[in-house]
């Protein structure tokens, strides 16, 4: 199928983009990498009147340091995130998760900001961003504001972004030296996660000092497995201690039901995958 007709605007700066969004009104849509949006348009599941293409807004691309914070421009592609030395050093979890996204062709065009703004609960980058306690910087007609990840993801495909706002930056507190693992479970290669678990830990002499655990596709938004996190603090990583902690993984979750998994199976997978992710991250 082909999309319904739309107007097309291609700004060169963030300010121009914000103005274009405001001018276009409620039925405008931002085009980042297009890897989620274009199929939606082609199947006519949505018919925005205007597309605002951020592809030429250079200031939205790139990774930089800002003191204790890693700052990633919203239009940085998955490919660039995968290869960035700063990301590898200070946010290993994000690199690990990005490695599992789709396929190389999609990773060359898809963007971190686009994925976050799209907020598909089965998307792989939301849980890592939540686990890393990221903040999202949003630009609108009245200026910029910063939203913690925990407040950003509201519901299925729904974020704190207003219709006239743009996600411009992802700010991640440095987790330098933390070990990480993203455990993804799907039915065929390159398919969406049925359930996935993002784990990053700070260990000292085999003891887990701090842990962050977040789940993909266990609800309408990514979910922090805080029960698991508390159960891991001060724990010597071993098969038993990890299993005990992982048993909390499904607490407080409201997992979706689909052809691939029912509630019971998703809850079970969450526990098993959490155990595996912790073991991989903590080196147990």
């Amino acid at each position: 199928m082909i999309p319904a007709p739309f107007d097309y605007v291609r700004p060169s700066t963030v300010d121009e983009a914000v103005q274009a969004l405001a001018a276009a009104g409620e039925d405008a849509k931002v085009l980042a990498g297009g890897q989620s949006l274009l199929p939606v348009l082609r199947m006519r599941l949505a018919a925005p009147t205007t597309l605002v293409d951020l592809g030429r807004v250079a200031e939205l691309r790139g990774v930089r340091e800002d003191g204790d914070t890693l700052v990633i421009g919203a239009m940085t592609t998955h490919y660039d995130v995968q290869r960035d030395a700063l990301v590898a050093e200070h946010a290993a979890l994000l690199k690990g998760a990005t490695d599992t996204v789709a396929d190389p062709q999609i990773r060359h065009r898809g963007t971190l900001g686009g994925a976050i703004a799209h907020a598909d609960p089965a998307g792989d980058l939301l849980a890592p961003v939540l686990a890393l306690d990221a903040s999202l910087v949003v630009a609108g007609p009245s200026g910029r504001r910063t939203v913690p990840a925990a407040d950003f993801f509201r519901d299925l495909f729904t974020t704190a972004l207003a219709p006239d706002e743009l996600l411009v930056e992802i700010r991640i507190p440095k987790h330098t030296g933390w070990r990480a693992h993203y455990e993804k479970f799907n039915r065929v290669t390159q398919a969406w996660s049925m359930v996935a678990v993002a784990v990053t830990v700070r260990t000292e002499a085999g003891v887990i000092e701090e842990a962050r655990v977040a789940l993909t596709n266990m609800g309408s938004t990514p979910v922090r497995a805080s029960g698991v996190e508390s159960a891991l603090v001060g724990v010597q990583a071993s098969a038993d201690s990890i299993a005990a902690a992982a048993s909390h993984a499904a607490e407080g979750t409201n997992p979706p039901v689909d052809g691939n998994a029912d509630v019971e199976y998703r809850r079970h997978l969450a526990k098993v995958l959490t155990g595996r992710a912790i073991a991989a991250a903590a080196g147990a």
């Binding site: 199947m43 479970f185 065929v188 290669t189 390159q190 049925m194 691939n260 995958l273």
Partner: protein
Amino acid sequence: MTATIEPEVGKSRRRKEDERLITGRTRWTDNITLPGLLHMAILRSPFAHAKIVSIDTSAAKSASGVIAVYTAQDLDPDGAIGMPCAWPITPEMKAPRRPVLAAGTVNFAGEGVAVVVARSSAEAHDALEEIDVEYDELPVILDLEAAIADGAPLVHEDLGTNTSAVWKFDSAEAGTGGNVEDAISSSEVVLKRRFRQQRLVPAFMEPRACVVDPTSTQITMWSATQVPHILRVMSALTLGIPEHKLRVIAPDVGGGFGGKIGVLPEEMMSLLVAQKLGKPVKWNETRSETMLAAHHGRDQIQDITISATRDGRVTGLKVELLANLGAYNGLVGPGVPILGAFMFNAIYKIPAYHFACTNVYTTTTLTDAYRGAGRPEATFAIERIMDELAVELGVDPLELREKNWIKHEEFPFTTVCGLTYDSGNYEAATEKAKQLFDYDGLRAEQEKRRASKDKVQLGIGISTFTEMCGLAPSRVLGSLDMGAGGWEYASIRMLPTGKVEVTTGASAHGQGHETAWSQIVADQLGVAFEDVEILHGDTQSSHKGLDTYGSRSLVVGGIAIVKAAEKVVAKAKPIAAHLLECAEDDLEFAGGKFTVKGTGTSTTMGDVALATFFAHNLPDGVEPSLDSDATFDPENFSFPHGTHLCAAEVDTETGRIKLRSYVCVDDVGVAVNPLIVEGQVHGGLAQGIAQALFEGTEHDESGTLTTGTFADYLLPSAADLPSFTTDRTETPSTTNPLGAKGVGEAGTIASTPAVVNAVIDAVRPFGVNDIEMPLTPMRVWHAIQHGTTDAGGPGRDEAGGGLGSIDATGGAQ
């Protein structure tokens, strides 16, 4: 100077067609563009069953670029056109008229309701949204057993039932074997199982398309079809177009797998619309339209009963099928389950056999042929139940098979179905497969993992299959009420410059016929492989044939080529003798040369062709032509066989299956091109494994297809499959001069039960004896949780559960 020319047959030649097919630099139907071409888009019903109260096309008619909007009322006001079904399997078969566009009622979600014709495809699709249809919903019928229950709502009111036909075969009645009820009641061991063959969607890479040009002396139709010849005659019969005024062309076609065997409402619509407007029209579809509107495959409920002696000899087999036709009969849909009727006994000497199939209508997309067409269903059932029987008897599943299979010395063997298998060597294929697979080593590993209660369990799955392909001896088709013959045609033309033009009635859509046929002709006529051109797919040039399906093209079409080539040589001989001034009997023909025996005097086929063209010096009474044709009707089906072994690891914590290794040793007789054979096996394995683990349609309770795109209808890629170990034994067929057997469907037929058997084998200690396909991780995990016994239950090495061993569906999810 006489170099030994290597035979072409047997060479793993790279294919002539691949460069253009792989790069796409060719003409697919959707690439065809003509001056003034108009585009068609079809409005399809969102409801599975509804009365059409009204259709308002007025807004659509005035939409941008729209030339016309038609409904059934416009294209077929008398309701006289019915889509053809060429296989009425019984005289009493009840069949509804299938209209080109829905007339009064829609009977499946996806049925065409109206067609827009516009200057561009985009405008045609946009105008669909302007058509206003009012529907009155009717009850939806999805479940097979519910459909045949008393008081079930009817798909087609006028039929008075949802049962289309019941087809039976009984060996006692046929005189080919014993009475199965006697066998069952007198046997020490009786096992019953219910298996579900899920519905599949043939996922050929190129969606369907059709272009009709009515502006010339003949109407030309291009279509992405497997069956241009059948399409031509059926279109003529269905629409009353004079056959000699209709030309059908299958250009390069991007895969079919049975899914492009059909006479489509979209093709008939294109012919009607093009004639009505006097302008060329094109119809094409997106993938989501293919998923909905192209025919589906499989979809059976199988109740299987097997009886045996305690020491492992099978005494009887009873098969009862419920087959889902969908809402209508496809071109050969009713006959698909029947094609499997003679294959449930498979490679085994089973003394008594009974088969009964009930074809049922439901409010779903119609089903028809899909790779294997009836035989994968049969092979699945028998190979699964043989594994179940092995567990029941406490014997190794390979040993059980060997005890019952036809021995090499017993060929040719007439089975309990009355088919005569010409040749085979199950022992050799199995021995080779076992070695390549390290069967004993893997069994030892399996034991270790069971003993240590390893979280990852290992299972070994077996499938020893045969199949009946090379469709088909025409008389047999007649006896089965199939409305066509099974012959194939070839003609060979010797061009003056020594090149050769061959027309074949086979219609390749990826099989590599151009290469394999060139190899055959090169050997037969002694010409260079590069000097042979194969023409196919256009009824104007390859004017006669019965097209490609059922693994028939080599063993029927290829033999027609051999026979035509023999005639060419026979025509050339007297001319050669005349040129060489000798007697015909003094000549021998080898390596493309006619040589006077015992001398070095010779003339080439090319010389003879040129001399024939000049006709200056031909013997009296000889036509100045070497061109010859042949129509070949096979005397029997083709019976390839093979042994497939699959090692599957099951992660019992998640249910995820990993195929550790897959070995198959197939016997397709003499292989014309081993590379092509291997390619067919690989592709067949991928599709068969896909049925076991990945593919399967889902409908919601309103009859809407929820697996409407590849996001939900899962196809494996190379990354999801193991590297296959393939090998062959070669037991020539005795029923054709090449000794060849068909291979196109073999991999698919064999692999599905090999994989499922492997997974069940892995988790049997948990009390599981069946899992419904596709074996998703969730289904496997649930089966492990809900097995009938705990890990102390009857394992592979213990004798079965006693009490007459009648076991229904314990463990199935």
